[in-house]
């Protein structure tokens, strides 16, 4: 891998810049070696050439003062930084920067758990704290609070929230559960949002909105500042937890499942982020494609039927959970069961009904109780050199929309030679439809096909009125311009904010399609 320079910076300037960064954080925390160090900041799941996202360096400050001085150096040289926290945002770009030459601002050393408040049910964490870290800490101190984690538990509590990630318990909407934020602006100013803006505040992590405009959302999925601390509400361990699974026989059942589900979800009889999961996702965490099929193209129905039978799964598989005192759970279950029993062929399972070696059930059971694990990563064993990028449109919770989105994606991905592997994460009033586009990362032709397919999906979804909630680096601009109502008024407002809070444009240029003034001509 050849070394690259930050855009607009000459070799001798870069040498001086690196020396200045080393003075701030120490030599061992500035990474420039293209053979041994910088590959850690590549995206292993790219569908485009790695050179497009190759960083020039990475710098890892340990605290606020070092961060402030790193920003000072970046402003002095006009060097673009790309902020990552735990760097595990795989499927959406991992730790790689939007463009070649950026310096990765790696916050994983800022990994303190600053407070756990058992009485009020929250924790305050820095950017480098993973779900595993927080879970471990809570266990160590004997806390009765639950973590709500992303499926791969190595993800960061703070960055998953700022990327609008979701978990699987009733506290699964992470942005909703965030309360209190500390942000360092590009000029080094430290800001506390909400109630934290008052010195000596007693309610920084209890009331979200403070006095005046609520600013927190401006710093999620954005490049307006570096979020250095957040409060996250944590769910107290309930008196009972009973996860369940309902399998459905037919592909066409998706419509009925979604219609049955909506009133249960809106009425909070299903309190957690429930999941409607297509069969291949459940298969891929426990077997490989080659175990069942060695042909090319999508797996035929006859083979899929055998997989369903072997693994005791349905064409669709619904995961939910009951929480609360046992009598409450019993009552709720009667309502949930009766509703889904209206769908012919529905089969109901509790823990005691599933095989002990059912990998899919075991990890989803843990996720529903906020116990982090990495099992879902096994999806990458599905094919040789497995990699994925996720296409993630938002869907209304209706049978018509779920089916329309499913067919829109399935038909195009089958035509492109890929299997549909996806799930719907059911939130308060929406579903995050996650299509895990799996490809062989060592096969350039397959990567090119995946990239082309992804672009087609963005356009087709937008034409049907569906937008994505999150995306890979390579598609940030393409998706940002689909949010173009009233001559892209929202994007232009984002750009105005960017110009004010980061006039030099040093923070994550291009993140979510927001470019600083100096780089807008370079928008892809």
């Amino acid at each position: 891998m050849e070394a690259v320079l930050p855009p607009g910076i000459k070799r001798e300037q870069f040498t001086a810049l690196v020396a200045d960064l080393q003075k701030v954080v120490g030599r061992e925390h500035v990474f420039t070696d293209t053979q041994w160090e910088l590959p850690a900041y590549n995206d292993a799941y790219l569908t485009t050439p790695a050179e497009l996202h190759q960083p020039s360096a990475a710098v890892a400050p340990a605290n606020l003062e070092e961060l402030r001085r790193v920003l000072e150096v970046a402003r002095h040289y006009n060097a673009p930084l790309w902020t990552v926290s735990t760097g595990k945002n795989f499927a959406y770009g991992g730790p790689a920067p939007r463009k070649a030459g950026y310096i990765v601002l790696d916050l994983k050393r800022m990994n303190r758990i600053l407070e756990v408040n058992e009485k009020h049910g929250y924790a305050v964490v820095e950017p480098g704290v993973s779900y595993m870290d927080l879970y471990r800490h809570l266990k160590k101190i004997g806390s009765k609070l639950w973590v709500d984690c992303a499926a791969p538990g190595w993800g960061g509590v703070l960055p998953n929230m700022t990327e609008h990630g979701v978990g699987y318990t009733p506290y699964g909407d992470h942005v909703t559960m965030q309360c209190g934020m500390e942000v360092m602006l590009a000029d080094g100013t430290l800001v506390q949002t909400g109630m934290g803006a008052m010195p000596g505040s007693q309610t920084s992590h209890l009331y979200k909105y403070g006095f005046g405009p609520s600013m927190d959302g401006l710093f999620t999925q954005s490049n307006f500042g570096v979020v250095t601390k957040v409060g996250m509400w944590l769910m107290p361990e309930p008196p009972g937890y009973r996860p369940y699974m309902i399998t459905f026989e037919k592909e066409s059942d998706l419509h009925a499942i979604t219609e049955v589900l909506r009133p249960l979800k809106v009425g909070m009889l299903i309190p957690a982020v429930a999941m409607t999961v297509e069969m291949l996702w459940e298969a891929a965490v426990q077997v490989t494609r080659r175990d069942y099929y060695t042909g090319k193209g999508p797996i035929p129905e006859s083979v899929r039927k055998k997989m369903r039978s072997d693994l005791k799964i349905g064409a669709w598989n619904f995961y939910g959970a009951l929480y609360g005192p046992p009598p409450m759970m019993d009552n709720t279950w009667e309502v949930v069961r009766d509703a889904f029993a209206s769908i012919p062929g529905a089969k109901f399972y509790f823990d005691e009904d599933r095989p002990k070696d059912d990998v899919a059930w075991q990890y989803r059971k843990k996720l529903g109780a906020g116990i982090p694990n990495m099992t879902e990563y096994n999806v990458m064993n599905w094919i040789p050199n497995g990699a994925h990028i996720d296409f993630s449109p938002i869907s209304p919770v209706t049978g018509v929309d779920a089916t329309k989105q499913y067919e829109l994606i399935r038909d195009r991905c089958n035509k492109a030679g890929f299997d549909y592997c996806g799930e719907f994460a059911v939130g308060w009033r929406d579903m995050h439809h996650i299509f895990c586009l799996t490809f062989d990362r060592n096969d350039p032709k397959e990567k090119a096909r995946a990239n082309k397919l992804f672009g087609e999906l963005v356009d087709a979804a937008a034409a049907a009125g569906y937008g994505e909630y999150r995306t890979h680096l390579d598609f940030m601009d393409r998706i940002a311009v689909t949010y173009n109502w009233n001559n892209s008024a929202l994007l232009r407002m984002h750009e105005k904010v960017k110009d004010v809070v980061d006039p030099a444009g040093i923070l994550s240029p291009g993140k979510m399609g927001i470019w600083p003034k100096s780089m807008r001509k370079g928008r892809a």
Binding site: F31, W36, A58, M132, V359, Y363, P372, N373, M374, Y377
Partner: protein, 207 residues
């Protein structure tokens, strides 16, 4: 057998020239524990492998027999993952041999870089012919050493032991061939179990 354990290289040369093939490494563990202990000390290596029946071998037994330190890896629970991170924290300065299913090895690698050096990575998968394919990428020195051994390895446990014997102590001084990454494809009789990936990892400073 008259093996001098002053270095990993001496050990390998002696065993190869003496016609003592693997599975001799495992038999060494039972016949000469002192030698096995010496190997562990000489290589200063740590094996990390996936604790799963799908590996096709009793990894712990195989590795323990030769006297090498090991840590099991799992994606399935927080305690296991945390134990691995604790072990890595205390393993600074040692070489690591990592073996598991591809997704697991990918995840472990992401916890190692940029503070460790992945000097060799490999993919091990079964071919339609029934043979095992081994695709290596990395430094020439450890790859050259491995090339004489892979055909003799019968299962993942034996491979893990061989990989662990490629510690930086003996080899990092033998980088006359440079640090450019090379590739090498080899085949061997089929291993039991599923397709795997592996890493040979040296501490920062070894290269």
């Amino acid at each position: 057998m008259g093996i001098t354990l002053s270095s990993r290289r001496t050990f390998l040369r002696a065993t190869v020239s003496g016609g003592v093939a693997l599975p001799l490494l495992t038999s060494l563990g039972t016949t000469a524990n002192a030698i096995a202990g010496g190997l562990a000390e000489a290589t200063n290596s740590l094996c990390l492998f996936e604790a799963d029946a799908a590996m096709g071998a009793d990894m712990a037994a195989g590795v323990r027999q030769i006297g090498l330190a090991y840590q099991t890896v799992t994606l399935d629970d927080a305690a296991g993952w945390s134990a691995m991170l604790d072990t890595l924290e205390s393993a600074r300065g040692r070489s690591l041999a990592v073996l598991g299913r591809p997704a697991t090895v990918f995840a472990v690698r992401n916890m190692l870089e940029p503070n460790w050096r992945v000097v060799l990575e490999a993919r091990h998968h079964r071919l339609a012919s029934g043979e095992m394919s081994h695709e290596f990428t990395g430094l020439e020195a450890p790859m050259a050493q491995l090339s004489g051994w892979v055909a003799r390895v019968e299962d993942p446990a034996q491979y893990a032991v061989v990989l662990a014997s490629m510690g930086h102590g003996g080899l990092s001084g033998d980088l006359s061939s440079g640090t450019e990454h090379k590739t090498l494809d080899l085949t061997s009789p089929a291993w039991p179990g599923v397709d795997l990936a592996s890493l040979l990892v040296w501490p920062k400073g070894a290269v």
